[in-house]
């Protein structure tokens, strides 16, 4: 970590030509966690942004090397805590791939529904937080009204509201709640009615549009070169939806569109996420009445041992492509594990696209990159 003297040294030194060095974070309202940006300013204009990471580094990769294949899933819930379900799914899929276990259809469908609910919940939180970054407080409360319904569904089903830990290799930990389907349908009904409320409040607002249009423009070439994924890359016109490219669970059985915008600015990133929520609803609608009967978990040994070799699983989280890379020696624990987190790559592009803009633009850009700091630090 950066000790106290270093932070003070950073803030009091004046750069050349009267440049101002400002520490944004680790405690700053707009960094949503403990991201530390050292921003060099000339007046209001940004000259350089340097991210300092590690304030919430928990060494998850090293930790996982001493955890069994049943245990290490639960650590990943703490990485990208807003899409913990999807992280768990990625790890479970990887173990299933490594051991060649068949997953019951019921588990696959339930996983898909829960993943999409998680994606909606994450995007809801993002809309609220991003609007707050831009100075509009009200959308936050509207977005959280719908998100609350999802967390309640999660609470019924998994017993937890944030870190679900519901997915196990070869299926689910236990069967879904009897009222799961009715509650999800009630949510879909409410969401469709209410989503216009805050969309009208935010999307059409002229101040919001002037704050986001043409701000933080990311070209498709840069998006690819910087390894961006998820809504950030799709807003630049790069097709990168892992649900389409390498379908997992029940994604090959449902119809949905990959949302692609071409402008590449903050407004495009906003629109991608808003439209993605509707696509998620579409996926859930196709599956919710067709949950197959049967087992919710396949039969496995108590102690899981992966085959010798290297395995890589890519899934699409709410923020982009999550990759889990495991090197297995055939034992009960991974030899080496690496999480390719979407936020890490999306953060690396921040300096490139926010350079030369105003401080206010940095908030719009950072807000629409949707950074989750534990996901970046791991």
């Amino acid at each position: 970590m950066y000790n106290q003297t270093e932070i003070i040294k950073d803030t009091t030194e004046l750069g050349p030509e009267g440049e101002l060095v400002v520490n944004m974070g680790p405690q700053h309202p707009a960094t949503h966690g403990v991201l530390h940006l050292v921003v060099t300013l000339n007046g209001e204009t940004i000259k350089k942004i340097e991210p300092h990471l590690g304030y919430i580094h928990r060494s998850i990769e090293k930790m996982c090397e001493s955890l069994t294949y049943r245990q290490f899933i639960y650590v990943t819930s703490r990485m990208d805590y807003l899409s913990s379900h999807i992280n768990n799914t990625a790890c479970a899929l990887l173990v299933e791939k490594g051991m060649q276990i068949e997953v019951p259809e019921r588990a696959k469908v339930v996983r898909t529904i829960l993943n999409e609910l998680t994606r909606i919940a994450s995007h809801e939180l993002w809309i609220g937080a991003m609007a707050m970054d831009l100075g509009a407080f009200t959308p936050f409360f509207y977005a959280f009204r719908e998100r609350e319904m999802i967390t309640e569904i999660m609470e019924d089903t998994c017993g937890a509201r944030l870190t679900m830990n519901y997915i196990v290799p070869s299926g689910l930990m236990y069967d879904i709640h009897p009222e799961f389907q009715t509650k999800v349908k009630a949510f879909i009904k409410q969401f469709k009615e209410k989503v216009t409320e805050y969309e009208d409040l935010v999307t059409g607002n002229i101040i919001f549009q002037s704050r986001t249009k043409g701000v933080g423009v990311l070209t498709p070439e840069d998006a690819i070169s910087y390894g961006c994924s998820g809504p950030v890359a799709r807003a630049s016109g790069v097709s990168c939806d892992m649900r389409k490219i390498a379908p997992y669970d029940a994604y090959d059985k449902v119809e949905f569109d990959e949302i692609i915008e071409t402008a590449g600015d903050s407004f495009a990133r906003y629109m991608v996420r808003v439209k993605e929520m509707n696509q998620s609803i579409r996926i859930i609608e196709q599956l919710i009445d067709n949950i197959p009967e049967g087992d919710f978990v396949g039969k496995t040994k108590n102690v899981l041992k992966l085959n010798k070799g290297e395995f890589y699983q890519r899934v699409e989280t709410a923020r982009g492509e999550l990759g889990v890379y495991v090197v297995s020696e055939g034992g009960t624990t991974p030899y080496r594990i690496k999480f390719r987190s979407p936020g890490f790559s999306n953060l690396s592009v921040l300096d490139h696209i926010a350079n030369g803009s105003k401080i206010g633009d940095l908030m719009a850009t950072m807000g629409t990159l949707d950074l989750v700091i534990p996901d970046i630090d791991r």
Partner: protein
Amino acid sequence: MLSLESITKTTQDWLLAKFTPTLALTIECVIVILLAITLFAVLGLVLVLLERKVAARIQIRLGPNRVGPGGIFQTAADTLKLIMKEGLTPDTADKFLFNLAPFIVMMVAMLLLAPIAFAKNFQIWDINIGVLYISAISSLSVIGILMAGWASNNKYSLLGAMRSGAQIVSYELSAGFAVLTIVVLTGSLQISEIVASQENGWWLFKGHIPVVIAFVLYIIAVTAETNRAPFDLAEAESELTAGFHTEYSGMKFALFFLAEYINIFIVCAIGATLFLGGWMPLHFGHWEGFNHIMDYIPSSVWFMGKTFLLIFLIMWFRWTFPRLRVDQLLNLEWKYLLPISLFNLLLVTVIAIMGWHF
């Protein structure tokens, strides 16, 4: 009929009968000062609570509801907490200026109270250059804010203060021109005369479209001048944590906070006086019966009602709009509002000369 006018008249008659004129004047001054401070305290409490309730209503929440019935003592409890807190002065701050700044902001807000007509013949000082006085004094508050930002020796504070300086100085122009339209129509800078000129109809209604434009410009400009969202760049919490008052705590912070709300009240009061007829009741041309009923509502209620309507409007802005960027803010003023208000003033002058208004 018991009205504020008769109370003041009785008090003055009684004082003059009992004491020499000089002593009576001194006592009157003391009473006025006490009343002004009381008004400030009460306004602060009411407006903060109102803002929180309005915000809660807009944001589908309940708002404060624990302290007292319906949460009416919430702000009193908050104030008590702020008084108890330590008023911390940073080591590297310029201590004199740092401690002076909140008082300057507060004093400016207090001075602005003088020429406002709260009810019929109920005014602290009916100065004959009332409108000019208001424009002159209100631009002083920027000194307090700049002082706070500079003396804090904090980069966020400095950036916030600089933004605030640029913003207040720019929007002062539009607000001034909007006020001038009414001065042109009335032909007087005195508040009481401006109110009197609206006896048969408020300027917003009888002044044709230019006054409506001026009213809109005025509302936008004063929202910016009081650093309220969507123009709250000086304290943009997602960018500059808290802007110019980042380093303030306890009662010194509370003074800034209070001054913000007092300023809102004052600009809305001036807006109500200039455009909505001040304490004048709503009258429609020849509807004698209707006009007679309206006259029964006390003038102070009319004034407060109009003022709080405008305050509600400004609060509504805050909880609906995102914040502007600093260059967009200045563009809006210098490229749009200022030319429009200049042209508008010209138009109003023509109307006034030709006598086209009602």
